[in-house]
């Protein structure tokens, strides 16, 4: 393959990676991507980085909510609408 073909293949694979990483791909796409990743360290590195970013985002911690939060919400609820209210 020529250098130009390599670049074009990389561009195509990089465009497919965002969907591939979310398991949204066809069988043919998957085979093509996996084959390319096994031969191209640059695209493989991009794929690993993307996975690491997503894992980090998915590990973001939840904040603690005070026990009094629910009571505060309930205290501030407006009066219920009565039947016949306009």
């Amino acid at each position: 393959m020529t250098g130009k073909e390599d670049t074009e293949r990389c561009t195509k694979i990089l465009a497919l990676l965002p969907r591939f990483i979310e398991n949204d791909f066809t069988v043919e796409e998957s085979a093509e991507i996996l084959e390319h990743l096994s031969k191209c360290p640059a695209c493989q590195a991009e794929y690993e980085s993307m996975k690491r970013l997503l894992n980090t985002l998915e590990d973001m911690p939840s904040i603690g909510v005070p026990r009094s939060f629910k009571d505060a919400v309930m205290r501030h609820l407006p009066p219920s609408k009565e039947a016949g209210d306009s």
């Binding site: 970013l53 939840s62 909510v65």
Partner: protein, 191 residues
């Protein structure tokens, strides 16, 4: 005796609309943590996040009779939260300093360093990376930040994200791919 069955969201809403105000507390308990965290990562201020979360629950209560049962309650809840939080950020942007100029929240939750599976060095590296990711996330435009949070923190489908934000699915996908790219470009770890 068998344990009490947990009511579905629809059953709780029916009870509230039937006059049982206290039942609304069940919905608050069910969603408060996820909602407050989502808002926290949008506004980066703990007290503000709690206050906005409270306002969202009150809005939800006020408009509960307009809830359309064909949608998941959580999708509707996050739609209200999304509108409320984006409005808040817009108002804040117009009336005070820019979001980037605000100081970091001193109440920003500290992240545990200990891990059952990672050594101390890797756990420390992961913590630092998480802090960097949170900073990079803060610099994203709110409309992009919101999508990243809905997708990767709340694990929403693209269909749900489209309903929450009112954007076409194609736009949601394009923006989230772009947002991830921006995050990767900002983070030294990924360069």
């Amino acid at each position: 005796m068998a344990g009490q069955r947990v009511l579905t969201d629809s059953e709780v809403i029916k009870a509230v609309l039937g006059g049982d105000r206290e039942a609304f507390g069940g919905l608050v308990e069910r969603y408060q943590k996820g909602l407050a965290t989502y808002i926290y990562h949008m506004v980066h201020h703990y007290e503000e996040a709690l206050e906005l979360s409270q306002e969202v629950f009150i809005k939800v209560f006020e408009s509960l009779d307009r809830y359309d049962g064909q949608y998941k309650f959580s999708t509707w809840l996050y739609k209200i939260a999304s509108n409320h939080t984006i409005d808040h950020l817009r108002r804040q942007h117009m009336t005070t300093t820019s979001i980037q100029q605000r100081e970091d929240d001193p109440d920003m939750p500290d992240l545990p360093l200990e891990s059952a599976t990672l050594g101390p060095e890797e756990a420390y590296r992961n913590k630092m990376l998480l802090v960097e990711v949170q900073k990079a996330l803060k610099d994203l435009p709110p409309s992009y930040r919101e999508l990243i949070l809905l997708r990767h923190f709340n694990f929403r489908s693209y269909e749900e994200m489209a309903k929450i934000t009112g954007l076409p699915i194609g736009t949601v996908k394009n923006r989230i791919f772009r947002a991830r790219q921006i995050l990767m470009e900002k983070l030294e770890e990924f360069r």
